[in-house]
């Protein structure tokens, strides 16, 4: 699947792969993934992954275990370089970018197995996400100049603002590793959010949360989308969450997209049901 136009999003291309054609058709897509694929030593982990996401869409990526969902995230954050295909972020081709550059271009993520900076405080974790927003030189850092003080104070306030999203400001100075599991997941979201992304990738944000925490999380994700006006793509096994907040869903099985559409469409799609429940034995 090769698109001749590089970095230009024609409406027709976009319409074909959007999860929500009617909603975002008039808008410019923020993430346009074209035929993304990767092989691990001859084994195809993800193949021909093509979707397009609008700038303020909440979308879900679901599929059975081992379907390649996290691999898609690793491709989108360039933890792995794709074997085939590419993706455009806000119209910019990301081919040749590395993890750091992709983040600077506007993709932030959380991890399935939480990766916080455990020994640092909650506030510092957020501040690390904010680092590109904190402006002072190495000299400022070494000699704690007035620039340093001003920038650190601003970063501190900003970090507390972000922590307020999940009512975590009271725990700003607790060690990140000492937080309960659910709080660590929330902190990871905030850290990703601190990098000011256009696209936020959440890898199983509700894993290990109880139902009431999950429903809080759903509310918070929607709130984040509404406040920050960003695109959110999430991997999740909790179908209540996925069907509850995702406006578009892509289903992955054996590295291939087997269905795309709205929650209603996905729920009634026979291929999806088969992938999850197995084929009904012919009598």
């Amino acid at each position: 699947m090769i698109f001749p136009t590089v970095g230009v999003n024609t409406l027709t291309d976009y319409k074909g792969h959007s999860l929500l054609p009617e909603r975002d058709a008039e808008q410019r897509p923020v993430l346009e993934i074209q035929g993304l694929g990767i092989d691990f030593g001859g084994l195809t982990a993800v193949n021909d992954f093509t979707i397009t996401l609008g700038p303020t869409e909440i979308s879900g990526l679901i599929g059975p275990n081992g379907a390649g969902k996290t691999t898609v995230f690793n491709l989108l954050t360039k933890v792995y370089q794709p074997t085939r295909g590419t993706f455009y972020l806000d119209g910019k081709d990301t081919a040749g970018m590395n993890t750091v550059q992709v983040n600077q271009a506007g993709i932030a993520r959380t991890f399935q197995n939480i990766r916080l900076f455990d020994k640092m405080t909650v506030e510092e974790n957020v501040k690390i996400g904010l680092h590109r927003d904190i402006h002072y030189s190495l000299g400022g850092a070494l000699f704690h100049t007035p620039f340093y003080r001003k920038a650190e104070k601003r970063a501190h306030e900003r970090a507390l603002e972000l922590l307020d999203i999940f009512d975590m400001a009271d725990f700003a100075y607790a060690q990140a590793g000492s937080l309960p599991y659910g709080a660590q997941r929330r902190l990871e979201i905030l850290r990703a959010l601190a990098t000011d992304p256009k696209v936020l990738l959440l890898d199983e944000p509700a894993a290990g949360m109880n139902p009431s925490e999950t429903s809080d999380l759903m509310e918070a994700i929607t709130k984040i989308r509404d406040t920050f006006k960003i695109c959110i793509l999430l991997i999740e096994h909790d179908m209540n969450l996925v069907m509850g907040i995702c406006e578009g869903i892509a289903v992955l099985n054996f590295g291939q997209i087997i269905a795309k559409g709205t929650p209603q469409e996905i729920q009634s799609n026979p291929q999806v049901i088969e992938a999850y429940l197995g084929r009904k034995k012919e009598a």
């Binding site: 954050t77 933890v79 590395n98 993890t99 750091v100 983040n103 600077q104 932030a108 993520r109 991890f111 990766r115 916080l116 900076f117 455990d118 020994k119 640092m120 405080t121 510092e124 501040k127 690390i128 996400g129 680092h131 590109r132 904190i134 002072y136 190495l138 400022g140 850092a141 070494l142 000699f143 704690h144 340093y148 920038a151 650190e152 970063a155 009512d167 975590m168 009271d170 725990f171 700003a172 100075y173 607790a174 000492s178 937080l179 309960p180 599991y181 659910g182 709080a183 850290r191 990703a192 601190a194 990098t195 009431s212 925490e213 809080d216």
Partner: protein, 372 residues
């Protein structure tokens, strides 16, 4: 909630608090030792150790920046020390006509830091592409290369200027000229410039730089990289830039300490800066606690004095040093022994400390874990 707020308040200044400890211990140590020296309470041999102790503290703190804060095992710190030492000696000799001792010393230390910093950049570029044990072995290799190369460098000075060669025959000095570096013999006829006070100031400067760096966005980035590289990259931190900052800063500070160290003796040979010295400094860092700056200060001071204090055991002192080292490592790292000492210190604290030991606020957990 009250306990929690207390905890958050006290944690707010964790860097500032540990920084205060570091500065406080250094100043207190300097004042006490100065008083003891003027009261004649310190033996001559120990007085001779004062400048080296300061140099080793600086070296330990700067190595802790690389090993503890940046998380890269460096086995070649003595190499930077050597570069600083010899360039510092050359600078001191070049500027020997300047009026004040301290001016010459400051110039020598700055030159030492500069050259070591340049070496740090040159070495850091390839080294920081590697990881873990491979990085460690390459720093070891660079340390050995530096010492090896210094073994074949001859520098002489006469009224026409500096002469540098790889053999004695390559240097043709006039009558007034003198040799500064003699290959494996090292620097000979060095004018002693270092004083205990200068050493104290260098330690303070080192602490200032390292502690400020830790408590900044650069420091956070360095530590983030250490704790979780993939997560750090995912929030847009580029590994090599920040690691380089720590590595080069460590090299500069080691070079400055090297210059201070060398200008305390009349002769310094390259063999002084071999692999064993690198290890010696690393031992300070590890025993003081990885990433713990105050610990580095204390352990560098104690472990430099220890062989001196063990002098009564004469032949057995290095053997004792080795045994002490092994026992301390086992006691502080073995899980069972660690639990034992932790329990003992808890009891001790409960008995003798008037301040209450803060428990981890359970309320915080409940609140965080439960619904809002």
């Amino acid at each position: 909630m009250n306990t929690l707020m207390k905890m958050t308040k006290s944690n707010m200044n964790q860097y500032k608090r540990s920084a205060l400890w570091s500065y406080g211990i250094t100043i207190a140590g300097f004042v006490i030792v100065s008083i003891m020296v003027s009261a004649g309470l310190i033996s001559n041999s120990l007085q001779g150790q004062l400048v080296p102790i300061c140099a080793y503290i600086s070296l330990a703190v700067s190595l802790n920046l690389v090993v503890g804060i940046s998380g890269e095992l460096s086995l070649g710190h003595a190499g930077f020390m050597a570069i600083g030492a010899f360039s510092g000696v050359i600078a001191a000799t070049l500027f020997q006509s300047l009026p004040f001792l301290w001016v010459k010393l400051v110039i020598a230390i700055l030159v030492g830091g500069l050259f070591a910093g340049v070496a740090g950049v040159i070495i850091g570029v390839p080294v920081l592409r590697l990881r873990g044990d491979y990085l460690a072995i390459v720093t070891l290799a660079f340390g050995e290369i530096i010492r090896n190369v210094l073994n074949v460098i001859y520098v002489g000075l006469d009224e026409k200027g500096l002469q540098v060669s790889t053999s004695m025959d390559g240097i043709h000095l006039s009558e007034q000229g003198s040799m500064i570096l003699n290959g494996p013999m090292g620097a000979t006829g060095v004018t002693k410039l270092s004083t205990f006070f200068a050493g104290f100031l260098l330690v303070m400067f080192t602490l200032f730089v390292v502690l400020n760096l830790i408590n900044s966005k650069h420091g956070r980035a360095i530590m983030a990289m250490r704790d979780n590289r993939i997560a750090a990259e995912s929030v847009g931190l580029s590994a090599t830039n920040f690691k380089m900052t720590a590595f080069v800063t460590g090299a500069i500070l080691a070079g400055m300490a090297g210059a201070l160290f060398a200008l305390n003796y009349s002769t310094v040979a390259p063999v002084k800066f071999n692999f064993n010295t690198s290890i010696f400094i690393l031992v300070f860092v590890v025993l003081g606690g990885i990433g713990n700056i105050t610990g580095s200060i204390i352990s560098a001071a104690v472990l430099t004095i220890l062989p001196e204090a063990l002098r009564q055991f004469s032949d057995y002192r290095m053997l004792t040093y080795a045994i002490v080292l092994i026992i301390v490592m086992l006691a502080t790292n073995n899980p069972q022994l660690k639990a034992l000492t932790a329990a003992a210190s808890k009891q001790f604290k409960a008995k003798f400390s008037r301040t209450r030991v803060y428990k981890r606020p359970q309320k915080a957990d409940e609140e965080m874990g439960g619904t809002k």
